[in-house]
Symmetry: C2
Amino acid sequence: MSDIQLNHLAIVVEDLDAALRFWRDSLGLTGGSVQSLPAEAVDIAFLELGAARIELIKPASSDSGVAKYLAKRGPGLHHLCLEVPDLEAKLKALRDAGYELINDEPRERAGRRYAFVHPKSAGGVLLELYERIDKPR
Amino acid sequence: MSDIQLNHLAIVVEDLDAALRFWRDSLGLTGGSVQSLPAEAVDIAFLELGAARIELIKPASSDSGVAKYLAKRGPGLHHLCLEVPDLEAKLKALRDAGYELINDEPRERAGRRYAFVHPKSAGGVLLELYERIDKPR
């Protein structure tokens, strides 16, 4: 067993209410409080999935990256976020093997550090790697 | 917390060896034994992800459903499989709410029972619901 865990799995939706009716009300997942992230022009809701979560993402403006994705690809699975204990080491291993990162240097926000691997390097999957930096040592 | 767990997350790939180089050798996930499933015309490999798994799927013939998906959509995230304790009840709840199932009656194989929800009902996500039937009571 590796020390890598699924943090969340993101799904792009056209309608958060409709998505919550399906995933929460009919299927039975818990959670679903809607949050607006104005900086990213999205509204999101997390549903609990064991130790991981499903993140529903709805574009809040028509010119955001997620809105463009939705217009091009339609709704559905969007990205995968894996939690790793050693983000810098993982990024180095990927770069050394010739894979392309979207951001070479991790971004940092609210107790976490993260970076995205380009889908062309991850077989069509937009992959977020994530490390908690407020974790207990 | 609901009693629903992620069983696996499937990724369609063009090349299993290349996918294993990325997900296993460079990223560090464990597992990856390749199995052929001639009945479904696919080769697959599972990678451990905590209690869940990533399933890499490669078409083994050009006319399989997965081959057609790959030709149309390209490689990437393919489906989500959630493990539920009560498959029949979940399917009834979804049908009662007007959602469309790909197979109304669960299929059964090797100690498990499963059914797929149509992507048009699950916001573009091909969703497999899965119940272990050999589980301890």
